[in-house]
Symmetry: C2
Subunit: 614 residues, 2 copies
Amino acid sequence: MSNKIKNILIGKPLANEELKGEKLNVFWGLPVMAGDAISSVAYGVEEILWVLVPAVGSIAYRQTLFVAGAIVVLLLVLVFSYRQTINSYPNGGGSYTVAKENLGELPGLAACASLFVGYVLTVAVSICAGTAALTSAIPELAAFKVPIAVFLLGLMSVGNLRGVRESARIFAIPTYIFIVSMLVLIATGLAKVYIFGYTPAASFEIPQGMGDITLFLLVRAYAAGCAGLTGVEAVSNAVPNFFHPAQKNAKKVLSLLALFVLLIFGGTSFLATIFHAVPNYDVTVLSQISLQVFGNGVMYYILQIATTVILVMAANTSFAGLPTLLSLAAGDGYAPRQFALRGGRLGFSNGILTLSFAAGLLIIVYKAETHDLVPLYAIGVFIAFTLSQLGMLAKWIKSGEKGRLGKALVNGVGSFMTVVTVVIIASSKMLEGAWISLVFIAVLVCFMKMVRRHYDDVARQLKLEAADIAKETEILEVDKHMIVIVESLNKASLKAINYARHLADDKNIVAFNISVDTNGSEKIKAKWEECGIPIPLVVKYSPFREIVEPLAEYIKSEEHESNPGDMITVVMPQFVVGKMWENILHSQTSYMIRRKLLHDRHIAVITVPYVLDE
Amino acid sequence: MSNKIKNILIGKPLANEELKGEKLNVFWGLPVMAGDAISSVAYGVEEILWVLVPAVGSIAYRQTLFVAGAIVVLLLVLVFSYRQTINSYPNGGGSYTVAKENLGELPGLAACASLFVGYVLTVAVSICAGTAALTSAIPELAAFKVPIAVFLLGLMSVGNLRGVRESARIFAIPTYIFIVSMLVLIATGLAKVYIFGYTPAASFEIPQGMGDITLFLLVRAYAAGCAGLTGVEAVSNAVPNFFHPAQKNAKKVLSLLALFVLLIFGGTSFLATIFHAVPNYDVTVLSQISLQVFGNGVMYYILQIATTVILVMAANTSFAGLPTLLSLAAGDGYAPRQFALRGGRLGFSNGILTLSFAAGLLIIVYKAETHDLVPLYAIGVFIAFTLSQLGMLAKWIKSGEKGRLGKALVNGVGSFMTVVTVVIIASSKMLEGAWISLVFIAVLVCFMKMVRRHYDDVARQLKLEAADIAKETEILEVDKHMIVIVESLNKASLKAINYARHLADDKNIVAFNISVDTNGSEKIKAKWEECGIPIPLVVKYSPFREIVEPLAEYIKSEEHESNPGDMITVVMPQFVVGKMWENILHSQTSYMIRRKLLHDRHIAVITVPYVLDE
């Protein structure tokens, strides 16, 4: 039943051999890998205006273009830097890999943790921004922002649990529709003003700014706008997801991405400037512009819906990136092993579910308000960028390769710009929420260290040399002691007793009963006699009504004639009920016994099921 | 460590033999059993005013006394009725027992479910009202109503987990302080007005009522005020908790309870009338009265604090009643068995925790607003009262006892009044929330029926006759087949293999490995050869990366040469880690295997622990 639902939602399981078929070419790869960066225009420009417009009023618009220009320059620098990364790391060179290999363990983990935060926030911010695009067009839905966002997140999760290629299919068309619609918007907007002489008027009252344009203000606007610059990372991390020649295809996707962002981010910033868009919680900047350009007609709604869809899809960049990152970290022993296992549809299901859960939490806590989530956002991504750039720089410095100077220069510029950006973001957004991300990154790094230490420890203890085999076998050359737990004398306990007698000699078996009232003790002893069961029954009265402790004491006591080092086997009957809920009707004694006794290395536990008919 | 915390919070475990010591005499029994009814004046009068004052304005005060009088009459009828119940049911005759014995199973379950709802709401309402008494006196705390209420609930739970008598000690003094303070308040208030000629003035503006006093309005006020009439039930249910002579002591407590309620409820209603208290969400009616009577001095704060404490203690009535009720139901097989077990301190811990959880949920959902919770409240209690009265009536009708006519008359009057009250409450409170309680009661009745059916079913299947023993033994007279699960070849799996070899002959053992990639298969085969382990290794490749299914298939397949009906034993190594959190770092394969395989009645599972050092 639950399997059927799973099959309908997620699709039939795919075999390992079908993995190759799930790879991407440039056409399908662009929307999956670059959707985030392209769609970020929808809120990137808006975040710049949020800083400038309330501060200085209408003179803000002159400055917006400069800030947007600086961000585009940063993007181009990143694109060039990451082309080098793709060249050097054909198996996927995310910040994590690059920083770990060239800078060491701790920077690697810091990059991993930062990316984790970045990816989660990409999902949360994109979905909230997508919801805002929808509620801008249909204000009646504004009260349902949170449920809408959570629903969209659920849709994304299911899509990604279905698998990589199918998700590309679902997501490519809307991405291309958005790109075309945006280009049409920019062209129409420019034509309307410069050819047909339309005079734009602000849709909302422009606040009376109190201050002047200062460098500090521009820097803060820059930091805010940087929120849009994720996604580059995902391409270089996901090189193995591309068809052969994977590196070349990845670089093509990266270049196309740069081109589209340049056009759309630049164009939208320019339109926001001439159409005097005013940022607010109810109507997005993009909605204000397109309403003026297209009027309240079909094209406006197409663009709003395409924006919603592309933003939701943008979250997909993280759904491709984070699970891959976690599987890399798990492979290195820094994350629980479960993240390295592919699910039924060959995606890393545990990573996908972790991402959905974390993003869902953020959406609910921040009530789906994009603008409130943004301060947490960029810091993680840019720490990862910085570590990646520094890692590449270190690589060129150490290497003896030809032409390394030029390459070092590219990554050197990248390092410089990203370091500066991190400092700017940290200083201007710290109190608004960046500290939350920083604390979380630090905690995550510690956790990853602990996980690795634990795995190393286990591996050391389990390692088996041929020489060990004889020694390990020795321990068990002793008597077989069996203790059968008997709660009451019924068919289930009789089955357990018979099972024990089948494995060991009667003389080594005892039945063990714990009674919590003295009446009960007498009753079971009498019934035992009556039934004539040929093994001895030990009845312990437990005045404190505990079950496990008297058993543990009995095993340790001299009364039980085992020698130290003997292997003792505890046999437990367990009811197996037909329906899940029926389990709450039976005390979970066998679970508690197992949990406690297994901590003793000389006790093994046998569970003998008694399956109840329904 | 967690045991230490538990011991500090709850106290050291008590042995069965100490149970007798936990009984109550009249002095300690009154506060434990009757705290609810006595304290209910704090909100009972207020609920009457909530109906009348907004509807008809200042003329409401004239009517309040009549309504309060009707409720006091109802209380007296109930007290007389319940004295008969205590006489007839020395082992505790709650509505559940009385209805079940005299009316049948379904009415019994309905009574049980109604009481459950009533008890939970008693806790929620009392604690919220106690919090309101506190925030009325200290308005700065008003913003923290919910956390305060939840904290108080936690305190109650801990107190009750410590045990019956200790809770009586903690709770008795404040109850008596409250009783004395209230009597002082009433006496002072009356003296102030009638002897010293003080002219009361309303503390809040009295609303301009729009309507007239109608019978319907009075009836609604009556329904609202009935919220205070729980607690009687608890005394008759808890007869066995009293010292010998238990019935006599219980009846004394019941009579004292009636006396105090008569004085305090009547007195407070009268004071509310002459001091023109106006119900609102910020300041309680009782606070308004005592502020006028005592002024903003020490006595005012003593009374407010005593009110808070008594109301919180009042919840204790339910903490004594509900767990006992659940243990009765569990004893009859209508509730999970765990409710019938006494905890470390001899209280029914599971019942106490269930009650705390349910009440906590209500407090949080209803934001600790007493007035919003009240509509859910009285319906459950009065359905239980009605069923109990009808049960007693049926008992007298059926019995041949002398003097049964008089007794039938008492319970007949009780039945009539409670039936009428249920109808009034249901009709006037249905849409405000009574339907929630009714739906929940219906669901609970169905659940209890299902639980009983399940237990009956299990008992039937497990029942062991001496004749069965030979037959049951037969099944296992077959070969010992063992399958050892080997994830990789390490010390843990070697230990499991040795354990299996120790129990069975080598020829009946196979090691079983599931690999999710073809590389892995080759590696483990090679290492197996190298180590020279003398039992065969079966490696299955699982293209869909599942673990349990290939194993289940293998067991069913012909490949495994067992005969149908053979008992097959699956041996699993299991890592035992030192710290709880480390469990998430290991796949829970053994848990999943156990869960799936144990549904087959011919498979037993052996867990061989491998304890990792820390």
